[in-house]
Amino acid sequence: MSAVAKNEVRRGFYLDSVRLMQVAAVLKSDVPGVEEAALMIGTPANLAILAAAGLIAGGTDAGPNDLVIAVRARDEDAAVAALAAARAHLERRAARPAGSKHRPRSLDGALAELAGANLALISVPGAFAAAEARRALSRGLNVMVFSDNVSLADEVALKDEAAARGLLMMGPDCGTALVAGTPIGFANSIPLGPIGIVAASGTGLQEVSSLLARAGSGVSHGIGVGGRDLAREVGARMTFAAMAALERDPATAHIVLVSKPPDPGVARRVLDRAAGAAKPITVCFLGAETRASYGDRRVVATLSEAAESALGRPVAAVLPELRAANGRARICGAFVGGSLCAEAQTVLRDGGLAIGSNAPIPGAAATRSHAAGNVLIDFGADEYTVGRPHPMIDPAVRDGAVAALLGQTDVAVVLADIVLGFGAHPDPAGALSRIVAAGPSKRPLVIASVCGTEGDPQGYARQVATLTEAGIAVAPSNAAAARAALIALGKTG
């Protein structure tokens, strides 16, 4: 072996020693045949190091203001190549684009990144969600907890903590919100407008806000409070806080309050509070049998009535005219939205039908089978989502149930909902349409509604067209779809 040592001196050249060591490291790793390489400013100490490493065997006249590039390689060619590579690296300017790969790993790390943060959106597993929410509240952030499986005790404690700090605590189990025009979670693209919504129901908020948007109006804020806020233990803590906030909010002219069936005692307190509201207010407790009106304080039964009440004019009034085939008498529904399922039950029940559901409203029977009777199943309920995505994200489970219903000879109408928006399946209408197209030629009527807007990623008009092309009747609202089903059976909607 006869290794070759070569060096080169650059006069009057200074570069930071760390940068120089980096270049040397690259020479050693990238240039074949290089045994040792160093780039050093020619101070006496550095020259001694170079000499000891056998890199300047022939000596050098470099001084403290000069750079020494020194290599030892297995042969002349490799040494020359290394010196050339060193020069090229020294000439190289930062080529790498700015932009950081850094991801914070904690709330506090994120707060260091985002000045003026005002909301924490938490969707970690339920066992950890309360701790994250508590931390966020203590940092002065409003909170939205998408996670479920948070204990009632934690929910109450978090909402009390939020109230003490004057913060919003949306959730747990809050999937949807609209804040100052920004959709958060599973929400739709909704223009700003005069109507503020407080919702203990995700798809309830989506349906009301989408109906308002499609009617040309809009929403100031849609505040989700979590599915259990009107349960007895929680006592509408956040509903009250959100109502008060919308009363103060200058952008809100009319308040809509939406909930799945609440605890009766809590419902009474909320209605008392609504009666004294500082702004016109519409309350929709899905499944409750109350309808009432005290001037501009109204209690309505369905989401579409809530939208109409807030807007002051009808929405989604035109129904598809359909007639069920002889011998078919049942209405069955397969829903991805829990509130949409509850709303449809309300319409059918109030239309005089005996109904069943896995998520029954007052007056409905509990059942999980489509085998007999008028049955509406909520495929977003817990029993269908363990270990799988919610059907809003992947509607396969629901669509499978529709496929089964298409073959049943006594079913007159299959009701289904298509929920659009951020986070939802990219083409839920296409998925349902393929199921229906593949079904038998003699099949029940399929009546669907699309919850969403033109601004959503899926596009309202495109989704409606897809359904229509597949022979699915599209109603202008979820309640209208249920009413059209009643009419198809010869009942008055």
Binding site: V18, M21, A45, I49, A52, A70, A98, R105, S106, D108
Partner: protein
């Protein structure tokens, strides 16, 4: 817990209130009462001779000869191994020391006073690069330099500092961060600022012009001169933060070449130790990772106050030690430390992060929760005594120290 949040607020308040001032240079034996005959202070948590690494043993042997407690290095090793000398960590006596951190009574120490709290902290003077005692060097050249530091440099510095009334350090650090220092691997700006600040007083106080010239030449030739000042400063800032009931803030991190140890405010003087890790970095020509000693030194006190690896964003050049080495990487190393600290310093900011403050006050809860451990910029010593520095790089604090500390900390607040 409310107790913890309040205690940590107090810890942060004390850190922010600190007013470190370099006030003097004194023989260690005059300011550290424990430094009697045949007593050596060392870096890191407590350790006995049998478990000490090569450089630590080498430095001890050199120091024993330097103090005249042994006639030669072999005799010194025999003396140390026979139990004829006493060892204690610098941290137990208000001091810190770089790498091996050996401190004995006649060595001059920099004295930093925290004027907000009245406490003082000490650190030996930086010997320069190459073969030096802090990296285990112990030959005649090393000992001769130590004598020069003791007999020539220290008196000049002491006279100048006293004439000036001390050098306030908060401002030096702030300016140094803006000039590309992170005060661990890179101290060129702060060293220069120190010379600029001290030169007039040194000139006025110097006994002879040639002694002044020699002193200035030594400081000016040593880019790392300020490191030891920064270390004494870190110790002076963190000592008043010790023993706050309920505080989960780290008050010291230190390594002895064998173990890495941390202390936490609420658990006082107790050390939580784990095997120290190997630095990852770049090596001087002729050396490689095979030559490297495990991580060593009390210099991690600068990370404990939010500098060093925590302030990498201020020193893009240092990012070269940590991998790909772009300036963006330097920012990311600092940003990661925000996940494990309580506050951003108001006084010490980094231009490249839009003048965000350095991440300050390490919370052991955050470390254990995220699994992110403090990043430390460090020099790398040769594993055999007497050779000295062979490279520089980055090392991580072992997570296990923080896990142990969390369990013990929880017990202090009644949580099991």
């Amino acid at each position: 817990m409310q107790l913890i949040e309040e205690a940590n607020r107090e810890a942060v308040r004390r850190i922010a209130a600190a007013e470190p001032v370099l006030v003097d240079v004194r023989p260690a034996g005059e300011v550290i009462p424990a430094l009697g005959d045949r007593v050596l202070l060392h870096a890191g948590p407590p350790i006995e001779w049998a478990r000490m690494c090569g450089p630590m043993r080498g430095a001890i042997a050199g120091a024993l000869v330097f103090e005249g407690w042994a006639t030669d290095l072999e005799a010194a090793e025999r003396l140390a191994a026979s139990g004829g000398v006493a060892f204690a960590p610098n941290h137990h006596h208000g001091a810190v020391g770089p790498m091996t951190g050996i401190t004995t009574r006649s060595m001059p120490v920099l004295v930093v006073e925290n004027r907000a709290f009245g406490n003082r902290a000490f650190c030996t003077i930086n010997e320069g690069l190459g073969k030096v005692m802090r990296f285990g060097g112990n030959d005649a050249e090393v000992l001769a330099r130590l004598r020069w530091l003791r007999d020539e440099l220290a008196p000049v510095l002491a006279a100048g500092l006293r004439a000036k009334g001390g050098l306030a350090l908060n401002g030096v650090i702030a300016r140094g961060l803006a000039m590309g220092d992170e005060m661990h691997q890179r101290n060129v700006a702060c060293t220069s600022l120190t010379v600029r600040e001290l030169a007039p007083a040194l000139a006025q106080a110097a006994a002879a012009i040639d002694k002044l010239a020699a002193a200035l030449a030594f400081i000016g030739a040593n880019d790392q001169f300020f490191l030891n000042i920064a270390m004494a400063m870190g110790k002076a800032i963190m000592d008043p933060v010790c023993d706050i009931r309920g505080s989960s803030v780290v008050t010291a991190m230190a390594r002895n070449g064998t173990d890495f140890g941390i202390r936490v405010s609420a658990t006082g003087e107790r050390w939580f130790v784990a095997p120290v890790e190997m630095p990852k970095g770049m090596y001087f020509p002729g050396f490689s990772e095979a030559d490297a000693n495990p991580d060593m030194g009390d210099s991690t006190i600068v990370e404990t106050v939010g500098l060093g690896g925590f302030a990498m964003a201020a020193a893009p050049a240092v990012a070269g030690f940590v991998g790909a080495g772009s300036a963006a990487d330097a920012l990311d190393w600092t940003r990661a430390m925000y996940d494990i600290t309580l506050v951003r310093s108001a006084a010490w900011t980094m231009p490249a992060l839009d003048f965000a403050g350095v991440p300050t006050a390490i919370d052991i809860r955050k470390v254990v929760s995220t699994g992110i451990v403090p990043v430390i910029n460090t020099g790398i010593a040769h594993k055999r005594p007497g050779i000295g520095q062979v490279g520089a790089g980055v090392v991580r604090a072992p997570l296990d120290c923080f896990k142990q500390a969390l369990v013990a900390f929880a017990a202090t607040v009644g949580v099991e």
